[in-house]
C-alpha cells in the first residue's frame, strides 16, 4: 500500500507493507535514524516521535496509521539551524550519556513545555515516566528540561513569530 506522510515539514510518499511499524518506516524507509528502537513493548520510549501534536511510541504504531498525518522526529527539533531550547538544555546540563534515549526524551520534553511552560520537578518526572534511561539516573534530564523552561523565552525571542502559545509542529 502507499502512504504519504509529512515528516519534519517534508512530504514523503512510499509503498509499504501494511504491517510495517512506524519506527521501521522512519528509520529504514526514510533513513531518519535519530529515532531509536529499544523494546517492542512501549516501555522504553526510545522510539517516541510526534504524530500530529502528540508524542507516540512509534514501535507500537503501524506506519499506515500515519498516512496523511504529520510527524516530528528529533531531526526536526532544530529550526533554521538553531537548536531547540530542549536540545540546548540537554547539552548544557549533561542530560545524556550514551545518547540512545535522548531523542525520545527531548520530544516528550518539548511537548511538556508546549503545554506547561513552567513545570515542577515532579511534573517533569511524571512526563518522562513512560520512558527509560539507563545512564543518567534521570537527574540531569530533569535539570535539562528545567533549563529549557528557564531559557525558553530568551531563545524563542530570537526566533521570529514563535513567541507564546502552543506551537504547531512541524511547520
Amino acid at each position: 500500500m502507499r502512504i504519504t506522510v509529512n515528516v519534519n515539514g517534508t512530504e514523503y510518499s512510499r509503498v509499504i507493507e501494511p504491517r510495517l511499524l512506524l519506527i521501521h518506516f522512519i528509520r529504514d524507509d526514510l533513513g531518519l535514524t535519530g529515532s531509536h528502537w529499544g523494546c517492542d513493548t512501549s516501555n522504553c520510549g526510545a522510539c517516541i516521535v510526534w504524530l500530529d501534536e502528540q508524542p507516540v511510541k512509534s514501535c507500537t504504531v503501524l506506519a499506515p496509521m500515519a498516512d496523511g498525518r504529520r510527524i516530528l522526529t528529533v531531526e526536526g527539533l532544530a529550526r533554521g539551524g538553531r537548536l531547540d531550547p530542549v536540545q540546548q538544555g540537554f547539552a548544557r546540563c549533561h542530560g545524556l550519556q550514551c545518547g540512545f534515549c535522548t531523542p525520545g526524551m527531548m520530544l516528550t520534553a518539548r511537548w511538556l513545555l508546549d503545554h506547561n511552560p513552567d513545570p515542577t520537578e515532579a511534573q517533569i518526572r511524571e512526563a518522562i515516566s513512560g520512558q527509560l534511561c539507563r545512564c543518567t539516573g534521570y537527574e540531569n534530564i530533569v535539570r535539562s528540561v528545567r533549563w529549557a523552561a528557564d531559557h525558553e523565552a530568551a531563545v524563542s525571542a530570537d526566533t521570529a513569530g514563535q513567541a507564546g502559545g502552543t506551537r504547531a509542529r512541524p511547520r
Partner: protein
C-alpha cells in the same frame, strides 16, 4: 604523587559527543546501512534443556526473500559450531547436540529484509526431546541432577570451579574465640544490565580480499578482534572491528555473542553484508546476565563492636556456559575484596561455580568484577551486627573503618588498597544527610506507626584491571596502548584502545592531553572504537578506562612534552636543562619572555629546523600503560526510605552519595555516572530480577516483566565529594563508572530493613518489591530464586 601539569582544562566542560546526539546524528550499529545489505534473525530454543532430534529448514530456504539458513551442523562443517568464551569455557554458536537454556541460539536466517527474516524463522521445524532442567542452583550438584555439559570430556557433574581466598585457619580461630558471631543467608538475584540499545552487528566480508569489517556493539573491540581471529582463522590484519556509538553497555557488550558470528558467517555465505540486531526479549533472555550469587556470610566481633573476622560461602550460578568476562585467574572475579572498608584480622571466602539451564554470563552489570556482590555481603553483615549489638550502624562503621594512616593497606585477602580517607567520606555523608535529625524523625514516626528507614553502605572497590602480570583475559594482558600525534599547527589526535558507551571519553581524554600539553581540549581529537585506527588494549569495562587508558593518555602526552622540550631547546638555542614547563610552555628558567608553546614547537618539529642528534622529527609518541596496581575508589552512601507496611510499597525519599574517586577530570561527567549507578542500585534493590519457573522458562523476558526504575522511582540524588588522589595513577585519578552501582544496593536494602525493624524482620532478599516486603512483614519472605510455581 604527581599532579597534573596544568589543571585548567580539567573541569565540567560540555561534552564533545553531545552536538551529534542532540541532533539525532549519532551512528549506532542499527544506523549502519550498506549497499545490498541483508538482515539476519535468530531462531532460539523454546525450552531450557532438550536434545535436538532434527532440524528441518527446507521451508525456510524456500521463502522467496531468504538467502541463507544456517544451522549448527553447517557451522560444524566449518569448525565454527563452538566458540571460546572469555572465561576459557566453550559456548555453542548454534546448537548441534542439545539446547541448554531457553533462548539458546539454534538457527540463523539471512533474508532481504528484517520482516522476512523473522517470517522465515516460523518456517523452521525443530524436534526437541525434553530433558530435565537444572534451575535451582542449590540442586545443581545433587547426585541425580541432569548433566548439562556432556559436551565437555570427562565431565561428571555440573561443577565449574571451587575457589577460595584468605586464610581459613586464621579465620576459624578468630570466629572460635569471638564474643559475637552473626550469620545470614542472602541472595544477590540474577539481574540484567539491559542497555537501551540491544546487541547487534553488521558484518561485511570482502569476497575479493577476504577482509572482514564488523560494526558491532562491543565494549572491547580489540579483544573481540583477537577472538574472531582465533575462531575464524582469519588473520587479525584482515579483521576490522568498528564499535561506533554504542547505546549503553554496562558490561552487557563485553562478551562475544553467537549472533555476531552468525552475521559474519552469513556474509561469507551470501557474499553480502549482513545485519543482525537482537530484540529486547533476546537481549534479556540470552545475553550476559549478572550476579546470581547465593551467599552465606558470617561476621565475628567483640561485644563492644570491634569487627574481627568475616567469612563467606558462595554458590555461583553461571548458567549453561561459563561466559563470565573477567580476568582469567579470578573465577569469582574480585569477590574476595569482601572484607570491604574495615580493619579486621582474618577473612576467608569460598566460591563454588555451577552450571544451570539458564543463560550464560555472570559478570556483566557494572559490577567491578563481582565487587558488587562483595560489598553487598559485607554491608549487610555489618548492619546485622549492629542490630545484634544494638549499635548505631553509622557509629559501628566509623569504629571499624580503616584509618587514613593505614594506607597503603593490605587487606586479609591480599589486595593492596592504594589510598583512602574513609572516616572523612562517611562524616561528609552523615553531614549532608543530617543523620542525627533523621534518627530523631524516625523515632517520632515509629511512635505514630509510620515506618521510615535509614540505610548506610560504605564501599571500597578495586578497579582499573589491571597489572598484566596478574590480570589477563584469554591470555591477553590487561594493558592499554595510546598513540598521540601533534600535527604541525598544534592540533592533536589521541588514539585509545578503549571505547565509549556514554562515558564521554572524547571529552575527558581530550582534557587529559590538553592539561599535559597546554592545549585547549577543543584542539585534541580522541579516536576510539575502531581497531584499524587505534592501538591494542582490552576495552571499556570494570571502570578501567580512566584508570588504564586515561593513564596511558597522560603518559603518552608527557612523552610528547619531553620530546617537545628538546625541540624547544633547539628553537631557542639553549640546553634542554635550561628549560622548565610552565604555563603550558617550555620556557627558559628565570626568563619568562623566552617560551615556546606546543603549537610553535609542533610546527618547528615538522620544519627544516636542525634538530639535536637522536631527536627525530615530528611530534608523536606511543605508549602502553601497564598499571602497577588497581585504583581503589570508595564512598559512603545513605538512603532514606518510607515503607507502607500495609502494601509493602517502598519509596526512596532521599539518597546521599559521597564518592571519592581521586582527581576528577570532568566532575560533570563523574557525577552523571554516579547518578546512573544510583538508579541501578535502586532498581536492583527494589525491582529488577531475572526469574525462572521450575522448567527453566525465563519469566523476565521483556520490559513488561523485567522492571527498570523510571524517573518517578528515583529521588533527586544528593552528591558529595572528597578527593584522595591515587598515588600511582599518573594524574591521581581512580575509576568511578561502577562505584554507585556497586555501593548503592546495600544502602537501599539496609534502609528498608531498618524501616522494618519494628516488625522483627531481620533480612529479606532483593528485589524488595511490594509483595516481598509485605511477605517479609508477615514472616514469610520471598526469594527470587524460588521458582514462581
Amino acid at each position: 604523587m604527581s599532579r597534573p601539569a596544568a589543571s585548567e582544562p580539567y573541569g565540567s566542560v560540555p561534552r564533545k559527543e553531545d552536538p551529534r546526539f542532540v541532533r539525532g546524528k549519532g551512528t549506532f550499529v542499527d544506523d549502519v546501512t550498506l549497499p545490498g545489505m541483508l538482515h539476519g534473525a535468530m531462531l532460539r530454543s523454546p525450552v531450557a534443556h532438550a536434545r535436538i532430534v532434527s532440524i528441518d529448514i527446507a521451508a525456510a530456504q524456500a521463502h522467496p526473500s531468504v538467502e541463507a539458513v544456517i544451522t549448527g551442523e553447517m557451522l560444524a562443517g566449518r569448525g565454527l559450531a563452538w566458540m571460546p568464551t572469555l572465561s576459557g569455557d566453550v559456548q555453542a554458536v548454534l546448537a548441534t547436540d542439545k539446547v541448554r537454556f531457553q533462548g539458546q541460539e539454534v538457527a540463523f536466517v539471512v533474508a532481504r529484509d528484517r520482516y522476512s527474516a523473522r517470517d522465515a524463522l516460523e518456517l523452521i521445524s525443530v524436534e526437541y526431546e525434553p530433558l530435565p532442567a537444572v534451575v535451582d542452583a542449590s540442586r545443581a550438584l545433587d547426585a541425580g541432577a541432569a548433566l548439562i555439559r556432556d559436551d565437555l570430556p570427562g565431565r561428571a557433574d555440573n561443577r565449574i570451579f571451587d575457589w577460595e581466598a584468605g586464610d581459613r585457619e586464621a579465620t576459624d580461630d578468630v570466629f572460635a574465640a569471638a564474643q559475637v558471631v552473626v550469620g545470614c543467608d542472602m541472595l544477590y538475584p540474577r539481574s540484567h544490565p539491559a542497555p537501551l540499545e540491544t546487541c547487534g552487528a553488521v558484518a561485511e566480508v570482502d569476497q575479493l580480499t577476504g577482509r572482514l569489517t564488523i560494526w558491532c556493539t562491543t565494549q572491547a573491540p580489540h579483544a573481540h578482534r583477537t577472538l574472531y581471529a582465533l575462531v575464524t582463522g582469519l588473520p587479525e590484519h584482515k579483521i576490522r572491528v568498528i564499535s561506533p556509538d554504542v547505546g549503553g553497555g554496562f558490561g552487557n557488550k563485553v562478551p562475544i555473542y553467537p549472533g555476531y558470528l552468525c552475521a559474519i558467517v552469513g556474509s561469507i555465505i551470501t557474499g553480502k553484508p549482513v545485519k543482525w540486531m537482537e530484540d529486547r526479549s533476546e537481549n534479556l533472555m540470552s545475553t550476559s546476565f549478572a550476579r546470581d550469587y547465593h551467599m552465606h556470610g558470617e561476621i565475628a566481633a567483640t561485644r563492644d563492636g570491634k569487627i574481627l573476622g568475616l567469612r563467606a560461602k558462595v554458590l555461583a550460578d553461571h548458567g549453561a556456559f561459563n561466559g563470565a568476562a573477567q580476568p582469567t585467574k579470578f573465577p569469582a572475579g574480585f569477590f574476595h575484596i569482601f572484607t570491604g572498608s574495615y580493619d579486621l584480622r582474618a577473612a576467608h571466602c569460598e566460591v563454588t561455580g555451577v552450571y544451570t539451564n539458564k543463560a550464560p554470563g555472570g559478570v556483566a552489570y557494572s559490577c567491578s568484577f563481582r565487587i558488587t556482590e562483595a560489598v553487598y555481603l559485607v554491608e549487610r553483615m555489618v548492619d546485622l551486627l549492629a542490630r545484634e549489638l544494638g549499635a548505631d550502624p553509622a557509629e559501628l562503621r566509623m569504629q571499624n573503618l580503616l584509618r587514613p594512616e593505614q594506607f597503603p593497606y593490605t587487606c586479609p585477602t591480599g589486595w593492596v588498597y592504594d589510598s583512602g580517607d574513609y572516616p572523612r567520606a562517611l562524616r561528609t555523608a552523615l553531614d549532608i544527610a543530617g543523620y542525627a535529625e533523621l534518627r530523631r524523625e524516625q523515632a517520632a514516626k515509629r511512635d505514630r506507626g509510620e515506618y521510615m528507614g535509614i540505610g548506610i553502605s560504605f564501599f571500597t572497590e578495586g578497579v582499573g584491571a589491571g597489572p598484566r602480570k596478574h590480570m589477563d583475559i584469554l591470555g591477553l594482558g590487561m594493558a592499554d596502548g595510546a598513540d598521540l600525534r601533534v600535527h604541525p599547527t598544534g592540533k592533536a589526535v589521541l588514539s585509545v584502545s578503549c571505547q565509549t558507551q556514554g562515558q564521554g571519553h572524547e571529552t575527558t581524554f581530550a582534557q587529559i592531553v590538553a592539561a599535559e600539553l597546554g592545549l585547549s581540549p577543543d584542539d585534541v581529537e580522541v579516536v576510539h572504537g575502531d581497531t584499524d585506527r587505534t592501538p591494542f588494549g582490552l576495552g571499556t569495562y570494570g571502570s578501567r578506562s580512566t584508570a588504564v587508558s586515561g593513564a596511558a593518555a597522560a603518559v603518552v602526552a608527557r612523552k610528547v612534552r619531553d620530546r617537545a622540550r628538546l625541540v624547544a631547546a633547539a628553537m631557542m638555542e639553549v640546553s634542554p636543562d635550561d628549560l622548565e614547563w610552565a604555563g603550558g610552555t617550555w620556557r627558559v628558567k628565570g626568563d619568562p619572555e623566552h617560551a615556546r608553546g606546543i603549537g610553535e614547537i609542533a610546527m618547528a618539529a615538522h620544519s627544516g629546523l636542525d634538530l639535536p642528534e637522536g631527536v627525530e622529527g615530528h611530534l608523536d609518541a606511543a605508549t602502553v600503560y601497564n598499571p602497577p596496581n588497581l585504583t581503589f575508589p570508595f564512598g559512603a552512601y545513605i538512603c532514606v526510605t518510607d515503607v507502607d507496611p500495609g502494601t509493602g510499597v517502598v519509596s526512596v525519599r532521599r539518597f546521599v552519595a559521597v564518592d571519592d574517586c581521586g582527581v576528577r577530570i570532568n566532575p560533570m561527567i563523574v557525577e552523571g555516572q554516579i547518578h546512573g549507578g544510583l538508579a541501578d542500585g535502586v532498581g536492583m534493590a527494589l525491582m529488577q530480577a531475572i526469574t525462572f519457573d521450575s522448567d527453566g522458562n525465563c519469566l523476565a523476558g521483556s520490559f513488561m516483566d523485567y522492571l527498570l526504575p523510571t524517573a518517578v522511582e528515583c529521588p533527586s540524588w544528593e552528591l558529595g565529594t572528597t578527593v584522595t588522589p591515587s598515588p600511582h595513577h599518573p594524574i591521581g585519578a581512580k575509576g568511578v563508572g561502577e562505584s554507585a552501582t556497586v555501593g548503592s544496593p546495600a544502602a537501599v536494602v539496609n534502609s528498608v530493613l531498618d524501616a522494618l525493624a519494628p516488625f522483627g524482620v531481620r533480612h529479606a532478599d532483593m528485589p524488595l518489591t511490594p509483595a516481598s516486603v509485605w511477605r517479609a512483614i508477615q514472616g514469610r519472605p520471598l526469594r527470587a530464586d524460588w521458582p514462581a510455581d
